[in-house]
Amino acid sequence: MLEREGALAFWLLVPTLALLTLFIAYPFVRGVWLSLTNAVVGEPGHFIGLRNFTKIFDDSIFRTAALNTFVYTGVTTVFKLALGLWLALLLNRHFRGKAWVRAFILLPFIIPTVLSTLAWKWMFDPTFSVFNWLFWKLSIINSRINWLGDPELAMASIMTVNVWRGVPFYAISLLAGLQTINPDLHEAAAIDGANRWQRFWHVTWPLLLPVTMVVVLFSIIQTFADFQLVYVLTGGGPANATHLFATYAYQIGIGTGLLSEGAAISLAMFPALLLVVVFQLWYIRRVENR
């Protein structure tokens, strides 16, 4: 039997299929089902159609969380890409201690998120913030900055931490992409009289684009569904100003015990993510086929 290619392929795929079914397909289908019932913790509930979805779209906190998620993902992605690319270009040069610097750059990405976020929480602490202490000592401020207590500043703070954590991923992935570009191309462009910017824009960037798209795709998915960072820093506060889809779903589903409504909130991010994924995969294929 193993000599027939089709059968062999099938049997080799079985473990992966089983794992995907068990850990991806089943929870997803169950989540969809849950969102169509009125289940609360400890009570299975019964089918109620789309009532949970109409309820959440009528919920002002949900609308805030949805808007926050888009802003949070959009702003941090731009910063992560710009800073990550800049860092990758710098790291692609030759300098002494290159290997060490590259290893250190990865630190924010390697440290468990909860741990590093707790450190940030101390730095943003309303009473004992080290930033406030520093600015005060430098006579830049004369009253405390309310990092996590002011709605706009709280949002800016969580974005800052997300960018800090995400830049290394961009930098290292883009660096790997940069290293696959043949130096001859740069040389040829230089001989033809292209300046630094022209070489970047007409040689580096087009060749780096497929890698960039994949990195951005992963990053958007992860940022869109971010949870730990916001949960640790603000818990969605002050007064729901920093709730994202995931943290609000958690508060409703796990905190308040309204499992079906929590599932509906989680699923609400699915269409947006699906669109992003479909668009980017289509774009990557187009670039590759050129």
């Binding site: 109620i48 906190i61 009473t127 207590g149 007064a239 508060q251 499992l259």
Partner: protein, 434 residues
């Protein structure tokens, strides 16, 4: 010695195994042995230590059980109970806060026999303990303790601005706080999403102005003149007298801020004072005296509708999925026996007030006058959802932090009318929804 050959061994073990399989139950010695109890990390760490080192080993000996105690941050109890119920496995006994037992009623064992017996033997439960744990037909959990919420304040600082007695009304508190903030010692109060200090302030504050989420018949009446007055007052009070960082505080921030000498007063359990008793050399006043000599406690000030309180309340739920319900019940009975409960109660030094009235007579209350206000905490407190019952809907409003957020939104700049309207709509969705 009787001969025990291979054949006999197989016969006996085979029969035993068949018996176990037929009864679908593990042998008694394997299943009755352990009770898994989960509770919060006590703000008086000495009490958890006492439980681990002395009380639980004694209980184990007396009952022939092993009690596994697990302690977690108070904010993590709800996620834990939800996942335990959904997966049908987890700790046998869960500590729950306030009216949360109403949220998990379907997954609780009817524990009326244990709770009623304790209440009857110990002078009766306080009203708030009963309404948080009893749905009218049965007890869903056994009342454990009331963490009295009082304002801890720095006596000397209030004296400096002309208050030899703690302010009686919100207006006086506002004036005092304004003067103290100008001197660099604001009032510290959280309006964040945290289980204890946020709702135990925002609910009684609302009630003291005459506002409430529902009336006695369960009709949502939050959007009222009284509520609006309370929100308007709060916006100025916050700006003039409070540490504005409080919007991002959890239950531990005010303890740290008070102990580091940055705030003059905060609503809290007695944990701040108890910590200063424990470490007199570490916590000092500006003049170098131990901070414990400069702390007093007071109930929340009075509003136009009177003086109110809402204390963090704890009870223990025996989970329906528990494989050792008998053992867990026996443990609860043993633990609440005054002979055994006494050592734990004394170790709390008044941080926890027991749920039954007989404990008001305990000599511990005479030892330290600073702790005396906590003795009667159980008599004063109301339950979330007042003037309605402390039911599932009230628990939902509480866990969504709607009342606290109403004030938080207003102090962040939303018009008071809009904040009240927003909260009224959110509360209505909970009470009138499916």
């Amino acid at each position: 010695m009787a001969e025990f050959d291979r054949r006999k061994f197989l016969q006996y073990s085979g029969a035993g195994l068949a018996g176990i399989l037929a009864s679908h139950q593990a042998p008694v010695f394997a299943q009755a042995g352990t009770v898994h109890w989960i509770k919060w990390n006590d703000f008086v760490p000495a009490s958890d230590e006492l439980l681990r080192k002395t009380i639980l080993p004694e209980a184990g000996k007396a009952l022939g059980l092993k009690i596994n105690l697990e302690t977690v941050n108070g904010n993590d109890l709800q996620p834990r109970v939800t996942s335990a119920i959904q997966s049908g496995t987890g700790p046998d006994l869960f500590m729950l806060f306030n009216n949360h037992p109403h949220l998990y009623a379907a997954s609780a064992v009817n524990i009326s026999d244990v709770a009623e017996a304790i209440g009857k033997a110990q002078g009766g439960y306080y009203k708030l303990c009963r309404s948080n744990t009893n749905d009218g037909n049965k007890f869903m959990s056994v009342p454990w303790a009331i963490i009295g919420g009082m304002i801890a304040y720095r006596k000397s600082w209030f004296e400096e601005v002309g208050y030899s007695k703690f302010p009686e009304t919100w207006q006086q508190y506002h004036e005092a706080g304004k003067k103290l903030k100008a001197k660099g010692h604001p009032i510290g109060q959280t309006l964040g999403h945290t289980f204890g200090d946020a709702p135990t302030f925002s609910y009684p504050y609302l009630w003291s102005w005459g506002g409430k989420e529902v009336d006695e018949k369960g009709k949502v009446v939050l959007d009222s003149k009284q509520t609006l007055e309370s929100v308007k007052f709060m916006t100025a009070f916050w700006k003039d007298a409070h540490d504005e960082g409080g919007l991002a505080w959890d239950d531990t921030n005010n303890n740290r801020a008070f102990l580091s000498g940055t705030i003059c007063a905060t609503l809290n359990g007695a944990s701040i004072y108890i910590e200063t008793l424990r470490k007199p050399d570490q916590y000092k006043t500006d003049s170098g005296a131990p901070m414990k000599t400069d702390i007093l406690h007071s109930p929340l000030p009075e509003g136009p509708a009177g003086r109110f309180g809402m204390h963090t309340f704890q009870s223990h739920m025996l989970m329906a999925y528990s494989k050792n319900q008998k053992g867990a019940k026996e443990f609860l009975k043993w633990m609440h026996d005054p002979k055994n409960f006494d050592a734990w109660f004394v170790s709390q030094k008044g941080f926890a007030t027991p749920p039954t009235q007989v404990w008001e007579k305990h000599k511990m209350w005479n030892e330290d006058p600073v702790m005396a206000p906590y003795k009667v905490a159980g008599r004063l407190g109301l339950t979330p959802g007042y003037a309605g019952p402390a039911n599932r809907k009230a628990a939902e409003v509480l866990t969504k932090y709607i009342i606290t957020d109403m004030y938080a939104k207003a102090v962040q700049g939303m018009a008071p009318e809009a904040a009240v309207k927003w909260a009224h709509e959110e509360v209505s969705k909970v009470y009138n929804g499916a």
